[in-house]
Symmetry: C2
Subunit: 324 residues, 2 copies
Amino acid sequence: MVAALQTETGKDGARLRLYPNPVSHTLREALAKLHHTAPDRVIAGNGSDDILNLLMRVFAGPERPAGMTTPSYSLYPILAALQGAKLIEAPFDRAFRLNLEAIADCGANIFFLTSPNAPSGVGFSTAQIAELARRFPGILVVDEAYAAFAAENAAELVAQFPRLVVARTFSKAFSLAGVRVGYALAHPEIIALLDRARDSYNLDRLAQAAALAAIEDMPYYDSTIARVVRTREAFLQKIHALGWHAHPSQANFVLVEPADADGRHGPDVAEALFKFLKRRKILVRYFGKHPLTRAALRVTIGTDSDMAALAAALDQWLKPALPR
Amino acid sequence: MVAALQTETGKDGARLRLYPNPVSHTLREALAKLHHTAPDRVIAGNGSDDILNLLMRVFAGPERPAGMTTPSYSLYPILAALQGAKLIEAPFDRAFRLNLEAIADCGANIFFLTSPNAPSGVGFSTAQIAELARRFPGILVVDEAYAAFAAENAAELVAQFPRLVVARTFSKAFSLAGVRVGYALAHPEIIALLDRARDSYNLDRLAQAAALAAIEDMPYYDSTIARVVRTREAFLQKIHALGWHAHPSQANFVLVEPADADGRHGPDVAEALFKFLKRRKILVRYFGKHPLTRAALRVTIGTDSDMAALAAALDQWLKPALPR
């Protein structure tokens, strides 16, 4: 990674004065190879937010509503509002299951489905996504920001469904959030429309070089991802051993519903634990505004020692009155 | 520059896993200082194309036409079309003078004026821009991609005119085209609107670091720019010595109307010289589609030896029949 960036910078930064390849040509070829598809089915973006923005811009507008499940990524409503597009919500049930009928018939011109979902971590099977792609008559965007941590994904379905778009990012699994690279897989006609709407030079030289270096170092990332998945499963066992509910996660985080020493749970309990952990400098996320998340905390999977510290803190929280 | 990028990359690329500062905080502060203004009057973009795109997105639409002088930057019509906005053209005259009346009364909600203009190189005075800002009732964007090479610019007017936006880029004067950094100066309310429309992380870590390093190395760039201006003026003298017309340039290029050995000029002559130079691997730009440019070539100012090679080639072209 460091060597690739040095090469791209050049002696005295000389290469930085040259415009980047406008279509991220080499990166698209590498991504196409990675997904066993053709380069004209790939577009690279300045983060996957750039991709989501382009999709909303091309396929939503005053007469063309956008759809999303709720709760999910807070960017979708912002992008829909920018386009003057009506936003249609397909609410999740308590278990964050995919409501196929509701989405298929929602009337949106473009629908954004985060899979695995955030903040629940719940993943949807390739078969479910295929069924939805078959039934939903508009553009179906599967935002797979966390797919690297999941057992299944929808990338292979793109060849089969011309209105299906799969969006990915280098920020999570490749730990390149600082570099801003995302991409999408879709039918060549959709890729061409997105290409027309994007900035001519949406990826700078260093971002293209960093993403390429990451792809070439895939075995390293595979082992990092496998480590996260193992740690996630161990953490879920710990949570279940406490008798707490956690949604089954296919992502690099877990949505946990804590109970206190007396077995009570709910928003007050979640918020109390959030504050308890914060005082110990253990940071988790609390989404207190939504009924489906306000009794829960989202825990990002860290290193084994991060998770051991969290487990110890949870034990301590549950036994505050005991002498130590 | 190289050291700044290495620091930002971190050991083994460790810093690249962290999200960039979403508002490019330090860079905005440095740009504000550079322009003796406040950070809330500055926004940074992924190239100035990102800035132009945001401006069009926020201020143009089906009921809000965009305006531009013609000929000028080919991106404006593309961005207007993406917004479904009508494009109003204010054509230049033969001397590429600013037509104040035509622009002031054109009815556009947002008007894009490239100053110095491309491809003519003609610059507009601060007084002219101020007069236009006073009279044009919409958002006036002065796209100052080439302003570093000009005697005057409009940056200081932003404090005075709340509907004036000045857009800049690091691609030309700072030779950082490969990194993609641009910015705009405007009233805080305009900056806030653009901030709401932009990608949350529109500049990656390395781009922010490179731009900051460039600002800190201003004396180096000042001397580079001064060298370009000197070389430009020497080249203009050469062109005038040949008896050719060239538009007075405030940019890092010159629009030259060549005449052949018999004193003829026009599209055929320009195209013939273009091909003659290309065979000698001297690359200039030919804009054959527009009546105001089709008899001319745009020559980018290179190193002194680049320009000497061009001058020699021009002499050779004018004396093809003479024995050498």
